[in-house]
Symmetry: C2
Subunit: 226 residues, 2 copies
Amino acid sequence: MADAAGPRQDEPIPDATVARLPIYLRGLVELSDDGVSTVSSVVLASLAGVNAANVRKDMSYLHAHGTRGVGYEVDHLIGEISLALGGGVRSPVVIVGVGNLGRALSRYDGFVAGGFPVAGLVDADPAVVGRKVAGNIVRSVEDLADLVAETGCTVGIVATPAAAAQVAVDSLVASGVSSILNFAPTVVTVPDRVDLRQVDLATELQILGYHQHHRAVAGRSDRATG
Amino acid sequence: MADAAGPRQDEPIPDATVARLPIYLRGLVELSDDGVSTVSSVVLASLAGVNAANVRKDMSYLHAHGTRGVGYEVDHLIGEISLALGGGVRSPVVIVGVGNLGRALSRYDGFVAGGFPVAGLVDADPAVVGRKVAGNIVRSVEDLADLVAETGCTVGIVATPAAAAQVAVDSLVASGVSSILNFAPTVVTVPDRVDLRQVDLATELQILGYHQHHRAVAGRSDRATG
DNA sequence: GTATGTGAATAGATTCACAGCT
DNA sequence: AGCTGTGAATCTATTCACATAC
């Protein structure tokens, strides 16, 4: 079963682990910046807000081994996690919908820092097309396929109103984008080959609202276990 | 209908179910607007992008019963879900950090529509304090406790840089806010009595990046298991 | 002594499959 | 016949606990 070149992840990494990798990476980079060279699972766990055994199991999925009695080598872990998360390849993104949210996202530093520079903006509104936002000229949504081809974008961000989201997603898919992050508050569908994640801002507050309400109604102190 | 005061949720609703309730609610409101009066679990499932059995089980946690052979009554479900999600109580929110993201969030229609009007904005930067953003005068972060007391905010949104996030969270907690939505790309901690949710924009892209990379490396078509 | 690595135990969520009601 | 409601099965994820290595 020994595999040729490339990452030798025989077994797939669980989704829950993948979702934690960026969090670990942030903590590790911080440690590295502070000159720390090794880290125990306990410390990394507290930086990431998870259980130490969870950290160790996650690292084992990456085949990122530590040293018993010592811990993990920070720079080595950074390398392994970065590799798993795309091997340091920069993936330019295109944002569809340049409203309040689209503008904020186009200026969001974290995207660039994370290896996802914003390479293009498109909007359906002719009044917005041609404007310069965060260093990019907004182009028509009709130019989307061209833009994707020119810039090599593989990731699309949808920041349109809900009513326009499915059309935006379809256009992105037709343009060849293979990963989509949808901020529009609606369920959209994509073909199997495309990966979709949903970020739903209002929903997040409603979930908080549930717990708040329930806490109030129940009135129980609900003591922390452990 | 003929029930005593207050929701009678004996058993807690699973987290995964709570997270889906807002999605169901959106679909149901849409159906109601279209004049549809009953809906089957299959249809609601497709609107929400989940499995039909999942819908039925979720509804059973709410004690929201349907009619066998017919389906669920749309307006009744809307009532039950709204009740579970806070009973229609409007919870004003305060946003800490009026940068790109904070401004976009303060203008986000979905919050108001979802029952979470933005009642105040604060920032640590004196150059921003006093400005009017989305109908609110930005106040100093030092006024946070006063603002929370005046407006009765119970929910805080953190949209500061990562370095300022824990301080912002601590201030919110000290001001009496009991639910916090953190957009800053860092892990923060809160006391047990406070509910915290994290929305991490860059992380979302990195997770997409993992799948993209892995798909490319593996190259396997990975046929859907219908 | 200290911290990893991991099998086993536990917990949580999803999906199946079908009995039961309309 | 059609659709709900739910026990059982399955899948996924977390946590424990300890043998193993440094």
